[in-house]
């Protein structure tokens, strides 16, 4: 059957922050992207991006997201932590329905259930490699400290 896996509180909080930040970034990004004209070239797009305050907000949020994500990656395998952020797909769908008036169908709700089931499967599988071999330079550094 499914192995019981415990996820530490620090990792759970880090993942929750990652999901919330991801949702806010996506919605802000969409609002900012809507302000760019259709005829714009890639360079004009970049110029607009640098001038729009909303993109600066997105940039600041992305920096917060990066700092939090590095913390999460320090506590878990990438192949464990990254799929768990798929929950932000669920929150973005719900938030875009609420704040951007995008309609959600019954099939989308079914999709949300599948995503949640997938996340559950991954959390049952454990968060970290059973045996992690330290890189050679770390072993050398540890030995140097011991000496």
């Amino acid at each position: 059957m499914w192995p019981q896996a415990r996820v530490p509180h620090r990792l759970t909080i880090g993942l929750a922050i990652a999901i919330v930040l991801d949702t806010v970034v996506q919605l802000s990004w969409k609002s900012a992207a809507a302000g760019i004209s259709d005829a714009a070239t890639p360079w004009a797009t970049l110029e607009t991006v640098l001038k729009q305050p909303m993109f600066l907000v997105v940039g600041a949020l992305l920096l917060c997201q990066l700092a939090n994500w590095l913390q999460v990656l320090g506590d878990a395998d990438l192949s464990f932590a990254q799929p768990l952020t798929s929950l932000s797909r669920v929150t973005v769908c719900l938030a875009s329905a609420i704040f951007l008036n995008e309609k959600l169908s019954l099939m989308q709700f079914g999709g949300i259930l599948f995503v949640c089931a997938g996340v559950w499967c991954i959390t049952r599988a454990g968060r970290e490699s059973p045996v992690r071999e330290a890189p050679a330079h770390e072993i050398q550094m540890r030995e140097a400290v011991v000496r």
Binding site: W2, P3, Q26, L27, W29, K30, A33, I36, D38, P42, T45, L46, V49, L62, L66, W69, L70, L73, G74, D77, L78, S79, F80, Q82, P83, S86, S88, R89, V92, C93, S96, L100, E102, S105, L106, M107, Q108, G110, G111, I112, L113, F114, V115, C116, A117, G118, V119, W120, C121, I122, R124, A125, G126, S129, P130, P135, H137, E138
Partner: protein, 110 residues
């Protein structure tokens, strides 16, 4: 090619790019000596991904673009196994599969 098809291709490209960005960030937590280099490489890759994804968002709804971006989970897991040698268990593959199916359902009706 329709704008929607171009948007979908751009999101798929962004997903592939994101896979490498995530690998670089994970590397930064594994190799303390080269940490700044890996973080800088990760950020550089994410900037490229951001430009590609911004273009895609102009052509697709946020629900569609975000759900299609789920392909990045597959690329990240594959690259984690290949480049980081993480042991990807059967449960993880099942979980990623369910996530991709779920996101496809979300896209199909978006």
């Amino acid at each position: 090619m329709t704008p929607t098809a171009i948007g979908i291709l751009l999101v798929m490209l962004a997903a592939a790019i994101e896979g490498f960005g995530q690998i670089f960030l994970k590397k930064s937590t594994l190799e303390q000596v080269r940490r700044p280099v890996w973080i800088a490489a990760g950020i550089a890759v994410f900037i490229v991904q951001a430009v590609v994804y911004t273009e895609a968002l102009r052509l697709l709804t946020v629900s569609t673009a975000f759900a299609l971006g789920t392909l990045s989970f597959v690329s990240v897991v594959l690259l984690s196994k290949w480049l980081l040698r993480e042991p990807v268990t059967f449960n993880r593959w099942v979980g990623v599969g369910l996530i991709v199916i779920g996101s496809s359902l979300i896209v199909a009706s978006a």
